[in-house]
């Protein structure tokens, strides 16, 4: 079956529209989850590391995957830039998900600081993917600052509450000429599917998978839902009647006429 195939982030092309966050999984499960999800991009965090003997996540992520480090832990643009520089030094490319959070209760991103960090990092040659509150004006500023994609949240990180920001994300899809990737809050395959039906380029999920009863199977469910949503978007969903019904079967030739 013909689908629309690959999409672009910066200079890279991808076929899979399911981006997986690698947090909260046991390392031994990582490979199966990535395979079941058809994952091509996985996010990682940068943290202080202890000396010796620790297992390294890079040994558990299948080769050939694109790694997308995040700047989690950053509370302002300066800290985000510092983390991004360290991530690049770790040697897994120049993609960076800018994540700047001051608020520890709701974990909502700071769009103003995120715009500043996006500008600095784009100038430094990074492929910048800012995590953001879905706000049109901020998204425009991020595009101007050199973002390669935008990552608006569906609902608070880790909440599994779904696409609470649906209408605002749709505005970004319609108005911003960059891939829109819903990140954070997506808790069910149906919600991921809905985001794709809106025209999002991809969906990122982590907690939804990591907190499922059968983690590898849920990764597979997300893969199918994201593909279904994309195909639905490309095939242009049919109209909705405002009232009444419309027969799908012919209205002539009834028995007994």
């Amino acid at each position: 079956m013909k689908t629309d195939g690959e999409f672009r982030i910066g200079k890279r092309r991808f076929n899979s529209r399911f981006i997986l966050g690698s947090g909260k999984f046991s390392l031994s499960m990582m490979k199966t989850v990535m395979e079941n999800g058809g994952i091509e991009i996985a996010t990682l965090a940068v943290r202080r590391t202890n000396a010796g003997g620790e297992e390294n996540i890079l040994d558990y992520i299948p080769r050939g995957l694109t790694l997308l480090p995040n700047t989690s832990g950053a509370r302002n643009a300066e800290e985000a830039v510092r983390i991004a520089m360290l991530a690049r030094e770790l040697g897994c490319g120049d993609m960076i998900k800018v994540e700047i959070i001051k608020d520890s209760r709701y974990l909502l991103p700071d769009n103003c600081e995120t715009i500043k960090a996006t500008k600095t990092l784009a100038e430094e040659g990074f492929t910048v993917m800012p995590y953001m509150m879905p706000d049109l004006s901020a998204a425009r500023s991020m595009a101007e600052a050199g973002a390669s994609a935008i990552m608006p949240l569906g609902s608070p990180i880790g909440s599994n509450k779904g696409l609470l920001t649906r209408d605002f994300i749709k505005i970004l899809v319609d108005e911003i000429d960059l891939p829109v990737i819903v990140d954070a809050g997506i808790g069910r395959p149906s919600q991921a599917c809905e985001a794709m039906e809106l025209g999002c380029a991809a969906v990122m999920a982590n907690t939804a998978i990591a907190t499922a009863g059968d983690i590898p199977m849920m990764a597979g469910a997300f893969k199918l839902a994201i593909e279904a949503g994309r195909m639905a978007f490309v095939s242009k969903p049919g109209r909705v009647l405002h009232e009444g019904g419309e027969a799908s079967s012919p209205l002539t030739g009834f028995l007994g006429d």
Binding site: R47, I57, L90
Partner: protein, 64 residues
């Protein structure tokens, strides 16, 4: 000196390369900041440490 926020007494002279390898880090899985500046891996062996230094050693972990 400080390593990842912890005070540690060094036996000098010591290079950054000695510290990283001697502490059991896998060199190609870490990035190092010395006093707020990133040191490229290729220079670890040429950088001498002092007891007033602050070193951050970071790596990738799972995260969304």
């Amino acid at each position: 000196m400080k390593i990842n926020g912890k005070e540690i007494e060094l036996i000098l002279p010591m290079t950054l390369g000695d510290l990283v390898a001697g502490s059991g880090y896998c060199e190609d899985r870490v990035a190092v900041e010395l006093n707020g500046r990133i040191v490229p891996r290729s220079e670890y062996a040429n950088v001498s440490l002092d007891n007033g230094d602050s070193v951050e050693i970071v790596g990738f972990v799972g995260g969304g």
